[in-house]
Symmetry: C2
Subunit: 430 residues, 2 copies
């Protein structure tokens, strides 16, 4: 690409950035937690249609995907699980095809009183946009869309097919991205602008979600000694699971990509509910846990170890020995994925193309590193032989209160994305 075109493209992103910020604000105002993604997907579909993309919008059918590798057990049902894909068909098809992927779902906002301002009433302050999902990852959806807009403003379109994906379920299963694969959407590379501060993710962990269902022996608290507390029963089990977590994080257990990461695999007790009455010894509790896995680590083996650890700890309790906990898997059964292990020419070219674009925009080399989170990249990388570049803006407090994204960073990522598309796909005139 000549430097004049490059400058024009960067300027077009700048020219459109107020509109992009407005778009991001509107998208963030939709409270698209699991099961409530519809209005946000309506908005996305309408924006894609207005721009002339061919829009494919469908409800995920579990029967279409449950047999596929990478499928995770469904939580609830998929009555409201709708994916949106907008397709650009190139007239010339001279370049390499591309998937621009982002997820529309956000995690719950938690207690409202812990937010300084309402989570779905986005505001901009000192260069940051605040709101649930602003960073994770509606800014990425915005940058994907406005990178294409910027090319068009310059009179260009990608000289290859581009699939713009707005998927559900990234935060709990990944089945939204899997359903896109199943529906036939493939390309020579994928870009996922998850909020990792303009660095390229070289490896991501796997994630396993599981529930512990514990029983108690309920009695009137007057006879608490004859009962068994179904809430406190969790304490030794959690201690045993944290010991397992320590073993998995030991230096000699680490995957090479994580050799210098302090504690890559986190066990999280994310949710708990138990008991019905302060003066009754509780009969039950349910805990929702999340455990990280290394790339290449077997999910069946991880499950077997978790089960062994929980059951061994349970057998140390007189009561739990005869009332063993139940372990229920639903949600993430996500394998880890390492782009670093993809030695294909396509992967090297995609990374090189991204690095050139990043350097052209920022004047710096491209930082690279592993993440201790998962993303939908695994579907492209592991199950479709497609290198997936995870590269997006800087955000803070994702999954927390006062989540925010750095708008200057969003602008740079949009510019980098536009240059990447121009280089990877090539350009044709509109």
């Amino acid at each position: 690409m000549d430097s004049k075109s490059q400058t024009e493209i960067l300027n077009a992103v700048d020219d459109l950035f107020d509109a992009e910020t407005q778009f991001l604000s509107e998208l963030t105002s939709h409270p698209s937690t699991r099961g409530r993604e519809q209005s946000a997907q309506d908005f996305m579909a309408s924006e894609l249609t207005q721009r002339g993309y061919k829009v494919d919008r469908w409800q995920i059918d579990v029967d279409d995907i449950r047999h596929l590798p990478g499928f995770s057990p469904v939580i609830g049902n998929y009555e409201d699980a709708v994916n949106v894909v907008g397709t650009h068909r190139s007239a010339t098809r001279n370049g390499r095809s591309l998937i621009l992927n982002g997820h529309i779902d956000v995690v719950p906002e938690g207690p409202l009183d812990m937010w300084d301002t309402p989570p779905y009433d986005p505001r901009v302050d000192d260069g940051w946009m605040y709101g649930r999902g602003a960073g994770d990852m509606k800014a990425g959806l915005a940058s994907n869309l406005f990178a294409l807009d910027a090319l068009r403003r310059c009179g260009f379109a990608p000289a290859a097919d581009v699939f713009f994906q707005s998927v559900v379920e990234e935060e709990c299963t990944g089945n939204g991205a899997l359903a896109c694969l199943q529906r036939g959407y493939t390309a020579e590379a994928a870009l996922i602008p998850e909020p990792f501060a303009e660095s390229l993710i070289t490896a991501q962990v796997g994630v396993l979600w599981f529930q512990l269902h514990l029983k108690g022996l309920p009695t009137h608290v007057a006879y608490a000694g004859s009962g068994s507390n179904g809430i406190e029963a969790a304490i030794p089990l959690l201690a045993a699971l944290h010991e397992m977590e320590d073993r998995w994080n030991a230096d000699d257990a680490k995957h090479p990509d994580y050799a210098h990461v302090h504690h890559p695999l986190n066990l999280n007790v994310g949710k708990i509910q138990g008991g019905d009455w302060a003066s009754s010894v509780p009969a039950w509790s349910v805990l929702d846990l999340r455990m990280g896995l290394y790339p290449g680590q077997s999910i069946p083996e991880a499950k077997a170890e978790i089960e062994a650890v929980v059951m061994e700890a349970a057998r140390a309790s007189d009561f739990l020995r005869n009332n063993l906990p139940e372990i229920v898997y639903h949600g993430f059964e996500a394998e880890g994925y390492a782009l670093s292990e993809d030695s294909s020419t396509t992967a090297q070219q995609a990374i090189g193309t991204l690095e050139s674009a990043h350097t052209a925009v920022t004047g710096t080399a491209l930082d690279r590193g592993p993440t201790t989170a998962t993303t939908d990249a695994r579907f492209f990388g592991l199950y479709a032989d497609t290198p997936a570049l995870v590269y997006g803006p800087r955000a803070e407090a994702i999954h927390g209160f006062n989540e925010r994204v750095d708008l200057d960073s969003v602008r740079r990522v949009t510019q980098t994305t536009a240059l990447f598309i121009a280089d990877w796909c090539g350009l044709e005139t509109v």
Copy 2:
């Protein structure tokens, strides 16, 4: 009372016992958990009206009672909190007046799949009636009512005023019994047939309910190390509270009535809720706890010690030190009560009268002892100078699954109650 009258009364209870069992079954079928007592109270009011008692039925007004000793902070509101009192006015008033008290509220039934048969579909098997509340304490309400019925069947009525009380809120505050006091219902003794296996309760513990509201520092679990888990934060606080519990249960700390009771004061973690998402470090949890107190133990001092223990444990955590837990009191602020400490003639006479009746029915001496639970007896004993006899049938699994009451025991308690009324109040002909 002559032995012929006594035999007639005992036979009358036998004759009516099928009807009493039927009544108990119907009463147990009403799921009268907190806020849902209305249909059970409708049934009680209708049964009292049919029998010719003057029925007083009123919604508790918190403003009437909040200033009174023994008041406990309200959970929710009292829109559905209705007491029922049926009054027998004696024509002769030769005897001593009496309150027959029972509570209509039951504790939540918990997960239905842990019951062998549905909790509000009572059944009789091998001499036991099963159902939530069958023992605690609808059998007591039945025995109070049918003891009076048996006297009437013999052509008698009590020769003193008798107040039949069916109160709400026993299981969480006691404000139902308090509202009866405030409304002017007093008598020379009270009988409360709580299910303590035909023994007389000489002392009962106090109960304090409190909530721990814990905060966490939520982040994406990928960065769990930088967050602070608002669920697991509870673990060291519970450990510290259990140490306090051990101190309070030490031999030299015990109230004399509990000198030979192994562990009179139980701390119970009855309920917990926390977190919103398996992959988010949880920002919050709320635990509902119950702690027992000795008769005479000061509630303000108990609160101060609990607060000191919780805060000291919290200060040992880097995160909690700057985000101290909040302790919220709602529900029970119940003082302990010891009938054994009531040296009045009235108390001695009431106990003697009960013992005679018990022996006449069972042929055995009256067992006496302390309980590690609380009852509404404290309102009569502590705040109305009225000895309160807690004496009722044998039940099992109260507050648990498959709660059941021994129907032979219900029959004996009904007989003892009828003889007690006859002796305490005296008899007049209808």
